[in-house]
């Protein structure tokens, strides 16, 4: 297997009324056909990571550093037409709230058709046929009728299916899913997760799936990257993360989830709040909340220490255990 996406030391800083160091050296690679969950509290930089991958951040106020390679291409250097051709057939995105992400005044079928017309130069009838086919694939009932529906005429679950149909219409190699089930009811959430997993296997694409819910990550992902304060603090397979969490933050999350017992519990059960990120972290960003923090943790940022293929932890306790 070779990596489809290679993110290397990505930093993102927003200026404006308030400076935010949203990402502070994120490194992550995603193999072909792999599903990686980005897990973290709200504000930890998950969405910003996804948006960087499509250059969707506001250009003027954003300073981006580091590198993103997609199948060997430098994503951050794409411009104009090249960028527009990259978005859609190579990388596509589904959003948290489909009622906001779909254009309210265009019919669903039109929104899907215009995408394939744009990228594949299909005629309108062919594009409409593709739209119909996509609605069938995401298992929307009576798809012929739904083609001419507007977003407000559909339920939340149907809208998210339509959004998925739209995102997959050009057969992307990488799908970015930004909490696509957070706005849905529990039962609908499960259906959409299963659908996504199925489509992913059918189409063989890679997925980066953002969530704040460990339960959801378990359902969908092969591998997990835990984010905190714009950094990745731990990566590993689902099994490794669940059975053998190494980073104190991951342990806290799991404990909170186990005690909470309910799937869907929010990740805010650890006392304290994440840093505001007005400055880039110079020490372990988790130190103020870490139950086992020591002086050294406040002195320098712990590096991401590799523990084998696809497994890494950013905590000095891990460095010591190696010694």
């Amino acid at each position: 297997m070779s990596a489809l996406v290679e993110i290397e030391d990505l930093t993102v800083r927003f200026s404006g009324e308030r400076t935010v160091h949203a990402l502070n050296g994120v490194s992550l690679s995603v193999e072909k056909g792999e599903v990686v969950a980005l897990l973290g509290e709200s504000g930890s930089g998950k969405s910003v990571t996804l948006k960087s991958l499509m250059q969707l951040l506001p250009g003027k106020r954003t300073k981006i550093g580091g590198k993103i390679a997609f199948d060997g291409r430098d994503v951050l250097k794409l411009k104009g037409r090249e960028l527009a051709n990259f978005r859609g057939p190579e990388v596509a995105m589904i959003f948290q709230d489909p009622s906001l992400a779909l254009d309210p005044v265009y019919a669903i079928g039109t929104q899907i058709a215009e995408t394939v017309m744009r990228h594949e130069g299909l005629s309108r009838p062919d594009a409409n046929a593709r739209a119909l086919d996509m609605l069938k694939r995401v298992r929307i009932p009576s798809p012929e009728r739904r083609l001419s529906n507007y977003p407000h005429e559909m339920s939340g679950g149907m809208r998210q299916r339509a959004m998925i149909a739209l995102a997959l219409a050009c057969g992307p190699r990488l799908l970015l899913a930004d909490e696509p089930t957070t706005a849905l009811d529990a039962t609908v959430q499960m259906q959409v997760l299963l659908l996504l997993r199925e489509l992913q296997q059918e189409m063989g694409m890679s997925v980066i799936f953002v969530t704040h819910d460990i339960g959801v990550a378990v359902e969908i992902a092969d591998r997990v990257a835990v984010m905190y304060a714009g950094t990745i603090v731990e990566t590993g397979t689902i099994a490794e993360i669940i059975k053998d969490p190494r980073h104190p933050y991951t342990k806290g999350l799991l404990a909170a989830n186990l005690h909470g017992a309910v799937k869907g519990a929010r990740l805010d059960a650890i006392p304290g709040a994440p840093p505001t990120l007005e400055e880039p972290p110079t020490s372990c960003p988790f130190a103020p909340r870490c139950p086992v923090a020591m002086a050294a943790c406040h002195a320098a940022r712990p590096p991401l220490i590799s523990k084998g293929p696809g497994r890494a932890v950013a905590c000095i306790l891990e460095a010591e255990s190696v010694l």
């Binding site: 499509m54 969707l56 037409r81 527009a84 051709n85 990259f86 978005r87 859609g88 057939p89 596509a92 995105m93 959003f95 709230d97 906001l100 992400a101 779909l102 254009d103 309210p104 005044v105 265009y106 019919a107 215009e114 995408t115 744009r118 990228h119 507007y150 407000h152 005429e153 739209l166 995102a167 050009c170």
Partner: protein, 317 residues
């Protein structure tokens, strides 16, 4: 869609009736005796009663309204108290001239307002945005009769390029589609266009700027749409609200041109109204207001229908 149209059409009937009643009452409630202007000062009580009977003012108000409305529906708006001539043809000609002026002002004001508003919204927070917005504010805050007079001084008096009086050579009030007449339209139309243009510009800018902040715009870029493709979506989202603002401004152009018509001696409804008010010419006043109001009602209907055709949420919800 069809039932919506039908429902909307049926709604027009009570609105039109209400508007007619208000037109009728407004004029009757206004202080002053309408016959004063035409009655000889030394008229006897009998003469006065006779006069009242001729104009129907002796009957109870509801009956007067019924008769007036019945005639109006058949195109008869009565006779002018001041001149004795039939009201309908005069109103038709005057409102026609006002429509002409409003149409000319629309052709100038709305496309420019929309275009520059769109530019400012799309290029918001740039120099272009600031220039356009400042121009719009200046346009909206300039009193248009004052602007009209300035234009007359510059283009009719200092540089005698364009006429400033009437709708045709020699102050004629009959319109013909030739340059001799169209020259007369230029200055009043520009003067009238400035305020609606500024308002449409600012509204469009705000609309476009709001829409660009919505999530679906980012989603459009995320699916690989080019700038022009995204702008098409933005335009369609902005259209319903822009249309309703344009509809309102058209209404303003029809009803609010009274000062401009006075400045330019334009033989339109505003001019007719001001004369009718001064002469307390009741039938003329009622007739003019009624016809203008009906245009207003129709205009609103058209805007509603156009909106519902663009925005599916309006008719289907």
């Amino acid at each position: 869609m069809f039932t919506y149209l039908l429902r909307r059409l049926v709604y027009v009937i009570p609105v039109a009736l209400g508007v007619s009643l208000i037109c009728f009452l407004l004029v009757h409630i206004a202080p002053g005796d309408p016959l004063v202007a035409v009655m000889p000062i030394d008229a006897t009580a009998e003469q006065e009663a006779e006069m009242r009977a001729v104009y129907g003012f002796d009957k109870p108000l509801p009956v007067q309204f019924g008769i007036w409305l019945g005639n109006a529906v058949q195109g008869d708006l009565g006779r002018s108290i001041a001149t004795g001539r039939a009201v309908a043809p005069e109103v038709t000609r005057a409102v026609g001239n006002t429509l002409l002026l409003a149409a000319a002002a629309s052709v100038i004001g709305f496309p420019l307002g929309i275009f520059f508003g769109f530019m400012a919204g799309y290029l918001r927070d740039t120099v272009w945005d600031r220039i356009i917005t400042a121009t719009a504010i200046a346009g909206v805050s300039t009193p248009n009769y004052w602007l009209g007079m300035v234009l007359v001084i510059i283009f009719s008096i200092t540089l005698p390029w364009l006429p400033s009086m009437g709708a045709g050579p020699g102050g004629s009030s009959d319109w013909t589609w030739d340059w001799l007449h169209m020259r007369h339209l230029v200055l009043p139309a520009i003067t009238l266009a400035v305020v609606p243009m500024g308002i449409v510009m600012r509204t469009t800018r705000a609309l476009v700027s709001d829409i660009l902040d919505q999530d679906f715009v980012q989603a459009l870029y995320a699916k690989g749409m080019t700038n022009s493709g995204v702008l098409r979506h933005v335009a369609r989202n902005a259209a319903p609200t822009a249309l309703s603002v344009i509809g309102l401004q058209l209404g303003y152009l029809l009803g609010g041109s009274i000062l401009i018509e006075t400045v330019f001696n334009w033989p339109g409804s505003g001019y007719l109204l001001s004369v009718a008010i001064l002469q307390r010419d009741l039938p003329m006043l009622q007739g003019t207001i009624l016809v203008l109001a009906m245009f207003f009602v129709t205009l609103n209907l058209l805007v509603d229908i156009a909106q519902s055709m663009i925005d599916p949420r309006i008719s289907r919800a």
